[in-house]
């Protein structure tokens, strides 16, 4: 028996060695850089080839189609398989050349002429040229596809136009000057015309590149290409042997043989599997988990990074929507308070932001008084004041607004009605639930009866965006970019994320009108300093009029296996994988296959 067991073990080991040996040859070796390829040299990067990196994702990606993908996890995978014309460097937050090796802007800022890299190839070896760019934009702009990216390409209701000037030159014409227009190109993956034109012509574009697609049907310009999809378990991407970047020693990137996207399901599982060494990289860590990993030190070696304040801003918004015809009389009555600036100022003064940072973020967060946090170094208005919490100030404000207190401490308004309202928040966001509980306690010191109502995420969205059936909400908006332009829809009175009063025909207040003008102006302003001054004024108005009462922002926290080289997490999404092409495993190949 024993002998048989040993023998079979031996056989298994041998077989394992053979299979392992065979498999490492499966991954394509990087092609040697050719003479006529205009590759991008990443001068300050070095590393070594080999190994694979396992990433734990909270959910399963839904599609590999860059045009229709809406969810974050899909986009995270798609981003590794595809490339853009111009990229935002996550470390510097500035644009830099990608598939377009250079570009020229006309004097009026409306015409962009892009020079594409010559001689570079898609991951299936097919050449890339201007026709692919023209095709890609045709798809993104197609009304029948309703790509979420389409909205980026429409400025002032008019689409930008694309023209092919030469085999490697394309020209984009904007309907009007647009500040930082080149940032739009980040996130618009260039598609292979030779693979996708057929489904596009047949009207089956949305079904193309689903997860069930064969790897041979998919090609991109990113550092990796699809190797395998196992339903419910993982996506394996292997090196794109034709990738268009080289390191300082002229070695073609990426260094990694493979990237494995593992679907782990929950944040807990993400942490557990990182802790157990089953995944190598972890981002969007909560402070509790970050501290856990930092203190426990259960991983043999891990590198944890606290990058300081993120771009996410959490705030309370009071419902100031026009409720006529909505049958929400109870809320309409309360809107008298919500529309009263002094009421909002009182709430603002009563909030214990330090408490939020300490209790919600375990000190790994930063209090906020405006919509631009310290994480956005280019745009923050440092002049905005940071008043300390003062219940006394809050009481004064309420008193001057005609509120008073009953003998039992309850706050009543001028007409004798008790100040009593609910705060809704997403039940799946533990941090915001905690903020709500803290806020409730803070406001109870002012005699306000506040009820916290956690709602399932989509139920919350439905109330805030559709039915307006809520008093106040704690929400968060995360910027994909540090630029003010993506915020247009939040601050413009006609904007679709103008949460406190959606769908205004015209600005309801003077300060909203002023913000409208300022936002419009900054959009067309091409000079940074001028633009900054304009946007500073917007921040100033917002912090004075408090349509949102800002609370705090969490720090960006990430971690990786200690052996991962070139790990430079950034505040902008995707925090950890933006330089996937440069990541490598230290110590080389012998460690790579052991997991």
């Amino acid at each position: 028996m024993n002998v048989i067991a040993r023998l079979s073990l031996l056989v298994c080991l041998l077989a394992g060695v053979c299979v392992a040996g065979a498999s490492s040859a499966e991954n394509p070796a990087p092609e040697n850089p050719g003479k006529n390829e205009e590759l991008q040299r990443v001068a300050d990067t070095s590393g070594r080839y080999g190994g694979h990196l396992t990433v734990g994702q909270r959910a399963e990606p839904k599609t590999l189609n860059p045009v229709i993908a809406t969810d974050a996890v899909s986009r995270e995978v798609i981003g590794r398989l595809n490339a853009d014309l111009i990229e935002i460097n996550r470390a510097t937050q500035q644009t830099e050349p990608a598939l377009a090796k250079s570009w020229k802007t006309s004097a009026d800022g409306r015409i962009f002429t892009l020079q594409l890299r010559r001689g570079i190839r898609f991951s299936d070896g097919h050449a890339f040229d201007a026709d692919d760019v023209i095709f890609s934009f045709a798809v993104y702009m197609d009304e029948n596809i309703d790509s979420p990216q389409r909205d980026l390409l429409i400025i002032d209701g008019k689409p930008m136009t694309v023209a092919k000037i030469g085999p490697y030159t394309v020209r984009f014409t904007l309907p009007r000057p647009y500040a930082a227009a080149e940032r739009i190109f980040d996130g618009l993956a260039m598609l292979p015309r030779h693979l996708l034109e057929k489904p596009y012509r047949e009207g089956k574009f949305a079904q193309a590149w689903s997860l069930n697609a064969q790897p041979s049907e998919i090609a991109g310009l990113g550092p990796f290409r699809l190797k395998q999809y196992v339903p419910g378990q993982r996506i394996v991407a292997e090196r794109n042997p034709y990738y268009w970047k080289v390191d300082r020693d002229n070695h073609r990137l990426p260094y990694l043989d493979e990237m494995v996207f593992l679907f782990v399901g929950t944040e807990n599982a993400q942490v557990l599997r990182f802790e157990a060494g089953e995944t190598d990289i972890i981002s969007r860590l909560s402070s509790e988990n970050f501290n856990l990993l930092a203190h426990e030190g259960t991983r043999v070696s891990s590198q944890l990074a606290d990058l300081g304040p993120s771009l996410e801003y959490n705030f309370v918004v009071f419902n100031q929507n026009d409720l006529t015809g909505k049958k929400l009389d109870a809320i309409a009555r309360k809107q008298v308070w919500f529309r009263d600036l002094k009421f909002r100022q009182a709430v603002n003064a009563a909030i214990d932001r330090d408490g939020i940072v300490r209790l919600v973020y375990g000190t790994r967060g930063t209090p906020l008084w405006g919509n631009v946090g310290p994480g956005n170094k280019l745009w923050i208005n440092q002049a905005i004041s940071h008043p300390q919490r003062s219940l006394e100030t809050a009481r004064q404000l309420l008193k001057s607004a005609g509120f008073s207190w009953k003998t039992n401490g309850e706050l009543v308004d001028g007409s004798g009605e008790t100040v009593d309202f609910t705060i809704v928040t997403s039940s799946s966001n533990a941090q915001r639930m905690k903020m709500a509980t803290l806020l409730q306690d803070d406001l109870s010191h002012l005699g306000m009866q506040v009820h916290v109502v956690p709602l399932e995420f989509r139920a919350l969205i439905d109330r805030v965006f559709q039915s307006f059936d809520y008093d106040a909400a704690i929400m968060g908006l995360g910027g994909g970019d540090a630029d003010p332009n993506p915020e247009m829809n939040v601050w413009m009175s006609s904007g679709t994320s103008h949460l406190w009063n959606l769908g205004e025909k015209q600005p309801a207040t003077d300060w909203e009108r002023e913000i409208d003008q300022l936002m419009q102006r900054q959009m067309v302003e091409l000079d940074y300093n001028q633009r900054k001054r304009t946007y500073d004024r917007v921040q100033q108005i917002i912090s004075e009029n408090l349509p949102f009462i800002f609370l705090a922002t969490p720090n960006t926290l990430a971690g990786a296996d200690g052996r991962l080289g070139n790990f430079h997490p950034a505040v902008l999404d995707p925090n950890t994988l933006w330089n996937a092409d440069e990541l490598y495993i230290r110590g080389g190949l012998e460690n790579a296959g052991t997991r």
Partner: protein
């Protein structure tokens, strides 16, 4: 009508009822798949409306139901909004994994709890009986999610088993035997969690129904005749005590698809659980409805098997059914 025909008719009616109510319920729940995009300031409401129209979400409920029935008859069970593929293959690729997990867990659960329940009842008040009472109370009192997380953490700390997924990432490179071992290693933790939570309930029921029968007349008589304890338990008590146990067994069978959702989500098991839960949150309606139809199908099968077993094990029921009919 014969039993099977009646069951079949009932099954079809049930599936129809479930599908109608599913549509009504999903209509009741606020929000839709594309609502998440509303939070992104860069996406316009027109785009969202366009996407809704593309997927037919703007159509009235009846129209959507009609389309779905048509698609269900083609064995597609509708079209996933998120995955842009038909639902049935999406579900089936994961249902296999769920079945692997739940069948293993079920066999172990019953293999453990049936003898334990019998033993506890036979030696009532003994050490084992008390231990079972305390342990099962503990398992019932502590929410499953906490038990699962605690076990998961233990496994991760002590490196006992892999803490998630179904196979290692180098699975394809392993030999057949190693692949088997790999799956077993990954299976261990979710199975242990499921077995612990389920058997706490079943042991108690088995114990209670065995005690009930032990008190019954003919068993007392047989005892008076000096029949051996083992023979008494297995020949006389167990067949009769099996009645509630069989109903429970039916539930085990019926819950094969739906019973392990939480554990699958926590352990990252690539089954239906994570898919359907994710779809529930994201309002990917047809995946949810498909998942429910799938589990309803299994429930029908499970209950039918349980009823047949009841008929076989308890001849009086057969006679009774005849009388009433």
């Amino acid at each position: 009508m014969s039993y099977l025909v009646r069951r079949l008719v009932r099954g079809i009616l049930l599936l129809a009822g479930v599908s109608v109510l599913c549509f009504l319920f999903t209509e009741m729940a606020p929000g839709s798949f594309f609502d998440e995009m509303r939070v992104n300031p860069q996406i316009s409401p027109e785009t969202i409306a366009g996407l809704r129209a593309q997927h037919g979400l703007d159509q009235p409920l009846v129209v959507r139901y009609g389309r779905w029935v048509k698609s269900a008859l083609h064995a597609d069970l509708g079209y996933s909004i998120a995955y842009n593929t038909p639902v049935a293959p999406l579900l089936w690729s994961r249902a296999k994994n769920t079945l692997l997990l739940t069948l293993t867990a079920m066999v172990l659960t019953w293999g453990i709890s049936l003898p334990l329940g019998l033993w506890a009842a036979a030696k009532r008040g003994g050490v084992l009986d008390r231990a079972i009472t305390v342990i099962s109370s503990l398992l019932i009192a502590v929410p499953e999610i906490v038990i699962a997380l605690a076990l998961l953490a233990t496994a991760a700390r002590w490196r006992l088993t892999p803490v998630g997924g179904m196979v290692s990432s180098n699975f394809e490179e392993l030999s057949g035997w190693e692949q088997f071992r790999d799956v077993v290693a990954h299976l261990t933790l979710p199975v242990v969690i499921l077995v612990l939570c389920e058997s706490a309930v079943i042991v108690r029921h088995v114990r209670a129904s065995v005690l009930e029968v032990l008190g019954a007349s003919y068993v007392q008589t047989a005892r008076g005749l000096g029949i051996s304890r083992g023979r008494l338990l297995f020949r006389h008590v167990l067949p009769v005590a099996a009645n509630p146990a069989i109903s429970l067994f039916g539930f085990s069978l019926a819950g094969l698809i739906s019973g392990s959702m939480l554990v699958e989500v926590i352990c990252g098991w690539p089954g239906l659980g994570p898919l359907v839960l994710d779809a529930t949150f994201s309002r990917d309606l047809y995946v949810v409805i498909g998942g429910i139809m799938f589990s309803a199908l299994f429930m029908l099968g499970g209950n039918m098997v349980a009823d047949i077993m009841l008929m076989v094990s308890d001849p009086r029921i057969r006679t009774g059914a005849a009388d009433a009919g």
